[in-house]
Amino acid sequence: MHFAFNKEIVRSITRSWTRFLAIFAIVALGAGFYAGLRMCAPDMRITVDHYLDETGFFDVRLVSTLGFTESDVAAVRDVAGVEAVGTEIVADATATVADRRTTVRVHSLDTTAAAGSEVTAGGGVASDDPTYLNRPILMDGRWPERSGECVIDESKLYANSAQIGEQVVLTAGVRPLEDTFGRTDFEIVGIVHSSYYLSFTRGLTTLNDGNIDRFIYIPEEDFAHPETYTDLHVLVRGVAGASPFDAAYDDIVDPVKGSLEDLGPVRAAARLAEVRAEAQATLDEGHREYADARAKADAEFAEVEAELADAAVKIAAAEEELADGQAEYDRGVRELAAERSALAVRRAEAQAQIDAGRAQIASQQAQLDQLAAALPLLQAQVAAARTAVDDLRAAYDAALAEEALGHTPSPSSAELAVSLGDAEAQLTTAQAEYAEQFAAYDAGVAGIAAGLAQLDAKQLELDQGVRQAELEFASAQRSLAAARRALADGREELEDGRRELAEGRATFERERADAEAELADALAQLDDARVEIDELEMPEWFVLGRDTNLGYASIAGDADRIEAISVVFPFIFFLVAALVALTTMTRMVEEERTLIGTYKALGYGKGVITSKYLVYAGIASVAGALGGILIGSQVLPKTVWRAYTTMYTAPPALTPIDVPLALTAGVASVSITLVATLWAAGATLRESPATLMLPRAPKPGKRIALERVRPVWSRMSFSHKVTARNIFRYKKRLFMTVIGIAGCTALLLTGFGLKNSISDVLAKQYGPIYHYDTIIGFDEGALDLASGEGSLELALGDRDDFTGHLVIHNDGVRLTNAEDPAPGDTNGIDGALTGGKNAQTTMMEGYLSVPRDAERLSGFISLRERVGGAPVPLTDEGVVLTEKIADRLGLSVGDTIRVEQVGLTGTVDHEETRTFTVAGVTEQYVSHFVYMTPTLHEDAYGEVPAYNQVLAVSGLAGDGDDDERDQLSQRLLALDGVTTVQFTDDITSSFDDMLESLDSVVYILILSAAILAFIVLYNLTNINVTERQREIATIKVLGFYDAEVNAYIYRETALLALLGCALGLVLGIGLEAFVIITAEIDVVMFGREIHTMSYVYSAALTLVFALVVNVAMVPRLRRVDMVESLKSVE
């Protein structure tokens, strides 16, 4: 164009760096903030999208009530648009993970595919296996290689609670463990992340407290039925380029979903037939088995029956034999007795005979003895005779001899011979008699001896006979005894036999009864099975999109929230940018008034002259926009993402520059500046060159409204009056400054308020609301309610560890406004909060909480209104809701809430749906509860609630004594029925991390606020000083001291700053509330209160910024040269 003119433009930039910088900086700030903030949501989505793509995240997930088989998989694979189908088995279980009871979701892992997968540079996982989907990322350790190994999630909530090498033992499942799992003990060999679980909350289950704590992957073969899959994951062809957050993605995926939904009933019918056939086969087999068993049993029964009958017969025979034996024995006994008596008679007779004989012999003996006694007499007679003979003989011989000699003895020989002859005759007779007598005696003796011998023989014979008989008797007796024993034995045996028989029969009867019962059971089961088969429902296919994945849905929601915020925030910056550009350019144009006149006089056209300013502002704003967008689009999304990722497991943010957004930001900020420039230049350019050569008539002073308030106005000093009038004289500057400063203060207040609100979540929840510090979870049966003497409660009551405890029932429920249509129930599958059939119905997930002693609840949880703190009573009249439920569902006291119980696989159990009148709304920040009394619960559900928690006050909280708490925890866990012990301190500390990450957001806000304040105030002061140089010079000439001169100018700045500050505090309250409510995640309610100190900080920081700018500008004021500025008006 014109070389000199261009040069002039370049010089006008280099000679007024501050002005150039002012525009540059505010545009950079505005464009950067806008671009950066607006790109947060897209970047979040891009990051998530990329992460999901890189990990093979499903496009469509299929869940069937009857599971899937390979033929289902094949059918799904054949659906048009399906790129790949991944299979998975998923089951929930209660597990002991490193000695801690945990609710886990167990996934099957294709160990081969996992081993072959590789972590990519982008934080994803690549695999050659197209069917390996929802690929977990190995963070530490290795993949499972064999049965009994598993990988576990890296859980920030349970940080360091499970290490590689520790055990996971499944203890209970939704169904019996053996029906689901092939084994129950696993060793942790690796730690994983999974895009399937983006958020910390892992989803809902029917087990335990309803929340899944962690997930693990086990080898597929460790499931009991590795051939039946619970989930199919589908990748849709052609979605690689489309962001799942765009409609284009839905356009691709929806037809496939449609096809799959159409396929569902077909495959479902096939599957039903399959399952039914299988079941029928099983049933038939069962029937066959039953029949076999029946027959076998009957045969066995018959056999046993026969055996028993045999035994009975045998026993009868034995009885008969025994009776015979007895009879024989009896006869034997009788016979023996008879014989004995006969023998006695015979013996007596024989004895009598013998005795008679003996008596005879005795008499003979007596005779003989007489004889014997006579014998000596006789002998003596003989002897005497003999003697006499001898004597006679001798006398005779002597006589003879004498005779012979002659003598004639007196008796003579002859006489003697006669006497001898007589004597001899006598002797002979004596001798004869003796001999006779002797013979008689001898004969007698012989006779006696013979008689005796005979008798003795007889006696002997008798004795022998008797002895013989006795022997015989004894033998008979022995025989009898033996017979008797035998009989006794036989009898005993018989008894035994009988008993055995009876027992055998009893056993048999029992066994038969058992067997019959078993058979009956079996039959009943078979019948049930038949009924079941008959009643087998058509399996339903749930065709689920990504939005049903909890983490995905909640990130998507967060992105939407950020987007909502990002629309509002930059508005301040744009507004201020426009005002700064306008004032700056106005000033520039005015300063160059004569120059413009000169150009005009030289014949330059309006357009060319305007172009100078447009080029100037253009360069400044384009440079600013570029710089701002480059920085903003990187820093802001990263910071916001970092703050959000405390709640997600996700890779670092990807921050590509979103060209349309960058263009929007750039074009918007540049055009705002250019429009402001045109505006500024327009008025001046319309003037004729002649008037332009003259100094511009100073802007007339004007009376302001304040002057009408005489009492005030008349008391004001001139400087104050000038200040007051100036403020209203330059309205652009007023707006620029007030809005800028207000924006600054509002940003600061938002930042600090944000921190307050989030830190209040815990501070208030665990301060004035929750008074307990320990939650003890126990098995529902552990507490004997009938007697109230459950071991647990006694144990707790006895312990010094607690100063108080309250038994409570807590159960996860889904809440809706009873006036809204009931929401669908497919959404609950994973607990993801999508709309289901009635997407417009707002749902909340919360807990139904029933304290056993409603009157004592206040000692553990304060129910109170947030505003005013009035206590909210819990009565049988209705339920008390926590605040966010009421807010979200639009419920207030007197309205009705629908409470739905979440059943198996997360679907709603319609049988258990109840509605309740809302009796109160209570302050609450973490989780949402519906409180009711046991009476109300019983009225509604027909039973007392199953108490499963104890809230306790240990007094150990807050003192940070981990050891003591660990010990207490150990002691409690040792109690029967205690499953979990949780200290609120642990909960709060995990939250603190989140707060820290939020600091970066606050710092960004403070920094932006500071930059905003500096730009605006510097610009204001700069313009004030340059534009009012004459005025400043004048008052200097009038003799104002430096301080007075400073005050003269700064009073205005200060007042505007104060004004802006005040306005900013008001704006800030609104902005903070907006941000808080928009950014709030479902599970918590952020504090609604900005602390007083935050107001103080925000205002103080703003004023400090103002002060800094003013101090920085003091030298400029000093440099205002009285002499130069008085010379003439340029």
Partner: protein, 233 residues
């Protein structure tokens, strides 16, 4: 002794390497109560003289005395006080604070003085009692200059300095202003120094100082100053 005395006052401006002597040994006296006119062509250095006399600029060398005070030796702070208490200044372009009314402009100066005159009274004296509550923009050039004079007078200064007071005014108005200044000196007995390039003004002066090329060419006392009304230019 003279009321105002310049003795060999030099003022050298440095424009890069170049030294420009704006005042090159200026020496003159003005007596108390006199109306002095310093006259000279553009660039002669008269404004430099005025600035130094008004305490707005310092001397490079030489001495400026107001009565016994050595103004040329003043510190920055002392100079401010000097302007504040001793000097009243009337500018070519009035230099009124646009956001203050006529009265307030006068009061602005008066409020910082030790012994100010009544602002309203001063304005009445310059003939503006009916425009007191008007803003400068609502006043004519002459009226504005009257306000400026009133502002300078209200400070009750020892010395009234006027820089081309009629430079931006038409003749008639200019004459009225000059008459006002003459009255200030004649009736009020104040020492008034007017700086102008307009030789016509010399007729009404008690003392005329010609300056050219930074030096005093001629200084003479006008034994018979005419009334301002009678000046012709």
């Amino acid at each position: 002794m003279a009321f105002v005395r310049f003795e060999e006052v030099r003022k050298v401006y440095h424009m890069g390497e170049v030294e420009i002597p704006a005042a090159d040994g200026v020496t003159f006296d003005v007596e108390r109560g006199e109306l002095a006119v310093i006259v000279g062509p553009s660039g002669a250095g008269k404004t430099t003289v005025l600035n130094m006399l008004g305490g707005m600029d310092t001397v490079t060398s030489g001495t400026i005395r107001l009565e016994d005070d050595d103004v040329s030796a003043y510190s920055r702070r002392r100079l401010t006080e000097y302007r504040r208490y001793d000097v009243g200044f009337v500018f070519q372009f009035y230099n009124l604070v646009p956001n203050l009314t006529a009265l307030e402009n006068v009061e602005l100066a008066a409020q910082i003085c030790r012994d100010p005159l009544d602002a309203a009274e001063t304005l009445r004296e310059v003939g503006l009692e009916h425009r007191m509550d008007n803003f400068p923009a609502q006043l004519s050039g002459g009226e504005q200059q009257r306000v400026a004079i009133a502002r300078a007078l209200a400070k009750n200064p020892r010395l009234l300095l006027c820089d081309e007071p009629t430079g931006a005014l038409d003749d008639a108005t200019g004459k009225q202003i000059l008459a006002l200044l003459q009255d200030t000196s004649r009736i009020g007995g104040r020492t008034v120094i007017i700086i102008t390039h307009n030789h016509a003004l010399t007729a009404m002066a008690d003392r005329v100082i010609h300056i050219s090329s930074g030096r005093v060419m001629d200084m003479r006392v006008n034994p018979d100053p005419v009334s301002a009304d009678e000046i012709e230019w």
